[in-house]
Structures are given as structure tokens and as C-alpha cells.
Amino acid sequence: MANGIVYVPEDRGKQGTIIGLPIFQNITLPSLGRTSKSGFLRLAEEFKLAREYSERLDLRAASLDQDVGNLSGGNQQKVVIAKWLATQPQVIILDEPTKGIDIGSKAAVHEFMAELAAQGLSVIMVSSEIPEVIGMSDRVIVMRDGRIEAELEGDALSPETLVRHAAGISATLMEEA
């Protein structure tokens, strides 16, 4: 975090949002230093920050001071992403960002990630959905058993190559078959 690298966890319920706290507090939690003055939090500043990022992410919520637990999965994911974007990072790591989210929100998250990359943020996405990986990535690193198996980009990106590297099957074996 100190180096501008932030991580959006896979399990948004257990590791991402703090149920019981209102939405705006969830969003501002890592950024309290910026919204405080001489040790005291300024709620107006917090709301401003929370509103800015929730609008950017098109967060659907009746009001920002309701409990974050009242939101759907997709919206909770937006809260977690908003929280980290509000820290103005340089690198954002998204672990399975669209797991368990409906198609509409999935598309929204993808569009948003593309926007982030276009703005100069480095986006690292961890995903096990092949279409998502191929559709979103400029460069793919396939890992197997905790080690880097391959680094692919451009034309080399195809579902077959990705699966092959992930499973550790060599090219010659496939051609023989």
C-alpha cells in the first residue's frame, strides 16, 4: 500500500467489505489520512471522496450511509474497488473480480478496468475464466503450481495455448494427438 500497489481480494465478503459499517466508511477506510485534519476525521471530506468514487463506478445505493451489507454482490465489489481507487494507486491487482457477479455487472467491471488501464494505471487481473483473460489482457502470464509457466501476448493468445500451459501439456503431444 505504501508503494501505491493495492489488492482487491477474491472473497469480497470475507476480505473486502466490512459489513456493519456504512458504505462511505468502507470506501474511505484506507484513505483516512487524507480526509482528516490534525487527527480528527472530517465527515464532509469523507462523503465527498466516497461520492466521487461511487459515482465513477456507478454504484447503485439508496444512500452512502446505509450498511454495506444491504448491497448486492456486484455493488459490494464496486465498493471494494472504489475503496482502493480512492487511495490513488499506481498498480491495482484484481483477484477474480467478476466471480459470482451477473452478466451486466461483469461487463461494467470489464469496461471500467479498460478505462483504468487507459488512464495509465497498471492493472493486474487474476482470473480463471479464459474468455475474460483473453478479452481483457494485453499480456498474460500463465501460472501452474505457483510458478510462472509462460508469458504470452498478441497472436499467441488463444484458449488452447492458455489451457495447454496451465495444464502443463507440451505442444508436441497435442500435435501427435
Binding site: M1, Y7, P9, K14, Q15, G16, T17, I18, I19, G20, L21, P22, Q25, L29, P30, L32, G33, S36, G39, F40, L41, L43, R60, A61, D65, D67, G69, N70, L71, S72, G73, G74, N75, K83, D102, G104, S105
Partner: protein, 327 residues
Amino acid sequence: MVLRHIPIREAILGAAILVLLGVVSTRYSGFIAPANLANVFNDTAPLIILALGQMVVILTRCIDLSVAANLALTGMVVAMLNVAMPGLPIPVILAIAILLGAVMGAINGLLVWKLAIPPIVVTLGTMTIYRGVIFLISEGKWINAHEMSTAFTGFSRAAFLGLPVLSWIAIMTVIVFGMMMSRTALGRSIFAVGGNPHAAVYTGINVGKTQFLAFVLSGALAGLTGYLWVARYAVAYVDIARGFELEVVAACVIGGISIAGGIGSVGGAVLGALFLGVVKNALPVVNISPFWQLAISGSAILIAVAFNARAGRSKGRVILKSAEGSV
């Protein structure tokens, strides 16, 4: 918690206290005279102060059973200091009491943070140890009123704008803690750590350190109350406030502070303490035996927990139903 005006839990508890006062006043109208209400508040002041400390600890998913022993040990120490050095100014005594209490709280905090021993086990142990130390340093002897300096015993009773200093200290503690919980990063971290420790860690909050600080705060308040108690009752011995820690936890639970952590408010803790204080003071006045007081306090705890548990559960069902519609 911060922005809702008078949340429903606290409103119901406040109403219950008013109803209780109303019922008592029909039997003995003098009870609700302002002078008497001030007395009740003053009597409940130590409970309010300790409940605030306990609230902070419980919010972080811990519990502090050593507060009464802490109070008693600090009380004995400052009483012995006063006997040995009657000229020691009261502010110095206050500072020593708070510091000693904080150190004892820090011991609890370190054992929880660094050794990861469950808080209930830690504070059960320190509770017994601190009580034992009182016996060791006092050799079982009492310190009585005539051995204490008049400044020592007079301070907490000194009246200021109609209320004794003891009440004012309670009021100031409420204000300070209210501001801390809602307006500082530490207060926010306390709610975060209790609400979801995993997510708090991912946000960069040091869970163990926050719990440690909670214990230090609880201990410091216990130390302060140690002096106030000993000064007010003008006696110090091994068994003072024996069992009081349970009353403190009860005040928090009745006040809506969830034992599971993350949920609670300063207003709730204060109202919980006031509820118990009113019950304790009202029953003798209407000729109900003190044993009924225990039964009433116990029932209040069960009702409060059942009420809060139901409120929490229905929120869960709402999430499932609204998931389809709100995205």
C-alpha cells in the same frame, strides 16, 4: 451508527429507563426529584466510565474481565500512596492511577496481541493475579477513612455547578469517548477490526495493535475509577468491586453492544449503565428485595441480547431478497 439520529436500539432502551422511572415515581414520587436523579447518576458514574472502556474492548472482539481487579489494585496502591505521602497533590494521584491502570491493561493487550491467547483466558488470569497482588501489598489490611487525607476523599465529592466531580468526570469521559469513536481514525479502526478483522487487515489496519490499544484504554479507565471508588467510599481493601466486571459487561450487553464485535455505540453503553443504575437505586425505594434486582438485571441482559440478535438476523434475509432487484 454515526449519522442516524437516535438509532432505534438506544431509543427503546431510553424509553425503558423512562418507563422504569415512571413506575417507581408512582410508588415514591420523590425518586424523580432532580436532586435524587443527580444522586442516581453520581452513583452510576463508575459503572458508566468502566462500561465505556469495556465497550471499546468488546467492539474489537475481545473482553476484559480484569477491570474490577484493576480498579481494586489501583485503588489500593493510590490509597497506600496517600497514607505514606499525604501531601501528594491530587492531579499526581490521578495521573498515577491512570498510568497504573493503563499498564495493567497493556499487559492484557500484549498477551492478546503478541501471544494470541484468547482475551477471556488472559483477563481471567490477570483478574486473579491483580487481586492476589492487592493482598500481597496490603497484607490483607484495610485502609480506612481516617487514614486518608481530606483532599484525597474530598476531591470526588467536591460539588461543581450542582454535580459532584465524580459525575463530571463521567460526563467528560462520555464526551471524549464519543468524539474518539466517531471522529478519529482509531475509533474507525476499532469498528473495522470488530466488524471484519480479515478485511481490516487487507486495509492495512493492524488488528492486534488495535486490540492492544483497546485494552490499554479499558485499563486506564479502570485505574481512574480505582481512585474514584476508593476516594468516594473512603476505604480500600482486597475485595472492593468484587464481581463488578460482570455488571460492566452486562451494562454493555444491555446497551446493545454485540459480544461478537463491531456493533455498539457510546450512547448504548451509557444507557445500559444507567438502566442498571436506576434498577439498583429504585428497588430499595419501592421495597423490592435486592435479590429481585439480580433477577431483573439478568432478564434485561437476556431480553437485550434476544432483541439485538433478531434485528441482526433479519438484515441477512433482506440481502438475499434485494440482490435480484438492486443491481
